[in-house]
Structure formats: C-alpha cells, structure tokens
C-alpha cells in the first residue's frame, strides 16, 4: 500500500470534514493497539471463550462425493451469534472501550452485524444503537427482535431505498452528533479509512485458521477459496490467509439478483463504475451522473451498491476473481446444502456455495475447495419459505 488508506487507487477517506478528526482518532487508536500485547491477548481471550473460536473446517463429504472434488466449509456459522460478524465487533468494541467510548452505533443489513454489535456491547457493558433500513427490518424481523432482546435500540431508516445503503448514511449522520462518547462500529471491509483495514484485520482470523486447518487436514493448500462478497468482510478475512499463496485461486461471489441484464442485482464488478460512496473510492453501481442505483438481492447482506476497496485492487491485480450467483441459484444452493449436508447456510453464503456448484467442472478428483460459510441460515428461513411458496 503506497499511501495509507489506499488500495492502489481505491479506498481513501471521502467524508464531511466533521468526521475527519473522528476517523483520525480511530486510526490512531488502532495503530496504538493493534500490536499491543495486552489488547491482542484480551481479544484472543474473547474470541476463544466467548465467540467460540476456532470455528471448524468441516469436510462436506456428501457434496464432495456428489461433485467429485473435495469441498470444505469454513464454519463461521458456528461463531457465536451465527456469523463471522462477531470477530469484527468484538475487536472494534474492545478498541472503542480503550478509546474511552461508552456507546456503540452500527448499521445493519441482514441484521447479523447488528446482533453481533449488540452482543459485543452487552459483553463489554456498553450502550448500543443500531440503524436498519425498514425493508431490511421487515425481511429480518427475527434479528430485529434479537437486537432488542440484547438491549439495543433499533432505529428504522425510512430514507431512500430503506436498505443497508441508507442505514449507513443514517449511522454516519448520527455519529457526528455524538463523537465524544460513541464509536461507529462499521460492519464491513468498506467505508472511509481506517475501516476497511480494521475490519480486514479483525476478520483475518478466518483465513489464518482456515490455512492451518486445511494444511492439517490435507497436508497442502487448497486449489480455491470461495466467499460471498457484499461489502466483502468475510471474503477479505478468509482471502487474507491465502493472499500470498499465488497458486490458491480466490473467488468472490456477488449478488446477481434477478440476473445482470435485469438491472436488479448487486454485482458491482459486473456493471459498476469507479466512484465514491460512503467514504470510499471503489466500484459502485451508479448512473452516468453519479447517482447511486437501487440494488436488489434476496440476501439483505449482499444488497449494497459498492464493494470493499481492497477487493477492487485484488481484482485489478488479477489476484482474485469476482463472479456472481443469482437469487435463484443461491436459493437452490441453500436448499441443497441443507438436504445433502444437513447445514443451512445464510443466503449470503449460499451465493458462494452456488458458485462452487455451478463451476464444478473447473475442479476434478483430488482438487480441494474451501467455501467460507459466513453465517447460518436460520435468519433466512422465512425468506426461503416465501420463495418456495411455503407458509411457516
């Protein structure tokens, strides 16, 4: 990285002046504590005793047999609260505490980051407010209730598309009114510097574990690592464990929604252009004048118009490749993993599973593929039922 906060030409810090001192404060604190032994020890302790790390690397034996190559699932669905989000929220909440903050605010799409933030806040005795788009609140009702049970205030966002994009805008607006006591716990490897770096570092535990686990299980590195990409935190987390292993194929899977030609998707690398949204310069779905386009995905967690800046660089460098899976493909992968392996993945993660199924001809006997199962599918059961025409 030539300039701090930049990934090639991507990243940066495009925010109102009022937020600059706040981001500088977060950056300084992170630099101070990221290598601080007592901070690392405290975080590791929470990850082990509270989050339940390391999460398993599960061989998907039935699917491997069905498709003729070895599939492993990195089980972030087994992390406490049911998704990888908790790795980042414990890290940032501990950081916030060291910064003397007493309150956390966050945005959430699928609700998993909101639940994980509310959980970390409780664990550390902090107050918590979560901003969530009304559309997402409706499709993730259970997670809204979970957040409230954890003592978080959930603020409905009624602006714009009423999804994650507007929840992020609203959380940023709210943050400027309470910088003294509040940390904005950004949920993905996106946003203004230093958030993409902080979130990547806190999620890199996934990649470190997966690398060690696959070496132990197979005695070698995998041929491919596949992960879904919304903002891109679970993907950058697992990729970071293999990024220097040039022979490991890294695949990020975006939300293809109703298909690329329909225009109803969130596949930024397919039809997006370089631009600035929420503080970062990266690939953004926008019209020719720079207005941000509405996105669509069956999974609230991938339903966002921009992608993490480090992914944009990895793509330019050819180090990672980015594809997409449609809603239908993801829904079908959701059901298949349940029926074949007994595991219901989050609809987000189902996109990664769908890619592996769709591209099975790329792999042959003896090949090893790790799919990052970023979260569990419990939260999506209602959505899936609706799509199946089943009432539950």
């Amino acid at each position: 990285m030539a300039v701090e906060g930049r990934y090639g030409e991507y990243g940066g810090r495009y925010v109102p002046e009022m937020l600059v001192p706040a981001l500088q404060e977060v950056e300084a604190a992170y630099k101070k504590y990221r290598d601080d032994r007592s901070f690392r020890e405290e975080l590791d302790r929470y990850l082990k005793e509270y989050v339940g790390r390391p999460t398993p690397l599960t061989p998907a034996r039935n699917m491997s047999e069905k498709y003729g190559f070895k599939i492993y699932l990195k089980r972030e669905d087994q992390a406490f609260t049911g998704a990888h989000k908790i790795n980042n929220t414990m890290g940032q909440a501990l950081l916030a505490k060291r910064m003397g903050k007493t309150r956390l605010i966050a945005e959430t799409g699928a609700g998993q980051h909101g639940v994980a933030t509310a959980t970390a806040a409780r664990a550390l005795g902090m107050k918590c407010t979560i901003y969530m788009g009304e559309v997402d609140m409706e499709r993730q009702r259970m997670n809204v209730f979970r957040m409230r049970l954890l003592g978080a205030e959930v603020v409905p966002v009624r602006n714009g598309t009423r999804t994650l994009k507007d929840a992020i805008s609203e959380a940023m607006r709210a943050w400027v009114t309470c910088l003294d006591d509040t940390h904005y716990l950004f949920g993905t490897a996106y946003g203004p510097h230093p958030f993409p770096a902080i979130v990547r570092d806190f999620q890199s535990v996934i990649g470190r574990e997966a690398r060690g686990q696959i070496l132990e299980a197979e005695g070698r590195l995998p041929d491919a690592v596949v992960a879904c990409v919304g903002g891109g935190s679970n993907a950058i987390g697992i990729f970071s464990g293999f990024i220097n292993d040039k022979d490991v194929r890294l695949v990020g899977v975006e939300a293809g929604g109703c298909g690329i030609s329909s225009g109803k998707h969130a596949a930024r690398f397919q039809t997006g252009k370089k631009g600035v949204l929420h503080g970062s310069y990266t690939y953004v779905l926008q019209d020719r004048y720079g207005q941000i386009l509405d996105t669509h995905s069956v999974s609230a967690g991938l339903d966002y118009a921009a992608v993490g800046p480090e992914h944009a660089l990895l793509r330019d460098l050819g180090r990672a490749e980015y594809s997409y899976a449609t809603d239908d493909e993801a829904l079908s992968a959701f059901q298949e993993l349940g029926m074949v392996e007994g595991i219901l993945p989050a609809l987000e993660s189902s996109h990664a599973v769908a890619w592996a199924i769709k591209n099975r001809s790329d792999f042959g006997e003896g090949d090893v593929v790790i799919i990052n199962l970023s979260g569990r599918g419990d939260k999506d059961v209602e959505t899936v039922a609706r799509h199946m025409g089943v009432s539950v």
């Binding site: 002046e17 400027v176 009114t177 004048y289």
Partner: protein
Amino acid sequence: MRAKGEGALIAYITLGDPSPEESFVLAQSLIDSGSVDVLELGIPFSDPIADGPVIQAAVDRALKAGMNTDIAFDLSRRLKKSIPIVYLTYYNIVLQRGVEKFVGDCADAGVSGIIIADLPFEESRDVRNSCAKYGVDYINIVTPNTPPGRMRIILEGASGFVYVVSNMGVTGARQSLSIGLRDTVSRTIECANGVPVAVGFGISKPAHVSEVIGMGADGAIVGSAIVDMAARKAGVHAILGYVKKLKEGTMPIAPKPGVNVS
C-alpha cells in the same frame, strides 16, 4: 459587504426541487430579490450524508423530477446573475462528470465557487488544481471539531468564503445556535487570511443571522428553512418575504471584533 456596514445573506436551494423549472424560477427570484448576497445551489446527490431530513427530501423530489448535472448547468447558464452563484454538491457528482470538466463547466456557466460536502482537504487536490486553473473558488468547510493546526492547513489557500459549520450534526433548522460557535467563528477568522467567513447549518431566524454577524462572521447561510418553505408550497412571494426578514438580520453590524472575542 463589510464596507457597506452589513453582513452577507447566503441562501441555499436544491436545484430541481420540486422540478427543474420551478427551482429555476425560485433561484431567479432570490437573485432578483435584493435580499440575497450569494446564492448557493445544491446539485442533488442520492446519498447526501451531510444533510438532514429536509434537504434529503428535496434531493429525492428533485431526482424523481429527472434532475441531473447537465440540467443543473443548463439552468445555471440561463440565470441572470447579479450576485455570485456557488454550487454545493457531493464528490461523486463531480467525479462522474470529470473533475476538470465539472470545474470548467462551472466557469462557463458563471458559477463562481464550489462546495463539496464530502471532500476533505486531503482528497481535494485535483479539484483545487482545476479551480485554480479556471478561476473558480474552492470553498473550504471547517467545523467546531476541526483542530487549530488542521484549520490553518485547510485555510492556507482559501478563496471565495470559508464555510463554518455551526454545530456538530447535519443540515437542518434548529431553535438556537450552539454554545461554542463564537469560539469556532473567531478561530476561523484568525486562520482565514482575510477571506470572508460565513456560518451555516441550523440558521433559520433573523435573530440567528444577527447573532452570527455579531460574532464577527461576514455572512450567514440559510438552507433548510427556505427549502422547507418551498416543500410546504409556501410560494415564491412568502419565501421572498422570509429572506427579506433574514436580510434585515445582517444589518447594521458592529465593527468587526478582534480575534479575542470573549
């Protein structure tokens, strides 16, 4: 303005709200009113993170009415300008047109300055360079939490005027101005090298206007309150009556105080 013994009233409206043509009429009326000294025109961006609900709603209406940057420049070109016009927008709007083209088009359309709400000093070099090339003022924003050292760096090459954000938050009318504003204004004047200083965010009453002028500011910026009147369909006549009252708040002003305002 100061030589005339009064402060400047800077009025903001969102271009395209509720339709491009209606916003043009309002803009021209404000220019012709004799009460407004600088007109600030917002070019809508779909995700305005520095703005409160009133401006957000105006942006939504404008975009729904088909507003875009091409139309903004067309409207600006058509305005008969007896006062300076400045744009306020967000960086992606500038970026997608091309930084140099955007600034060049400003010069061509008679727009004398630009304010970019989400472009901090560190990321602004390209825009500044283009502004210098085309003779367009790049208007800097400072806030109550901008540290002194940073404020000096930001304002070193200031031109046009300096936009002082009155309080920690987003745009939108408030009942009273923040307690620390006097200090922010005097710190800004100290760093501004004689470039005029105008205060915005939360100003909605003639009393607010005279308060900030009394603090030593050269101007007051009123946005959400005007946009809100337009949204409630108050009519151009009522809006002009309102800005006339606001303008009265700018005069007469006390002699400019020194930097050690107590």
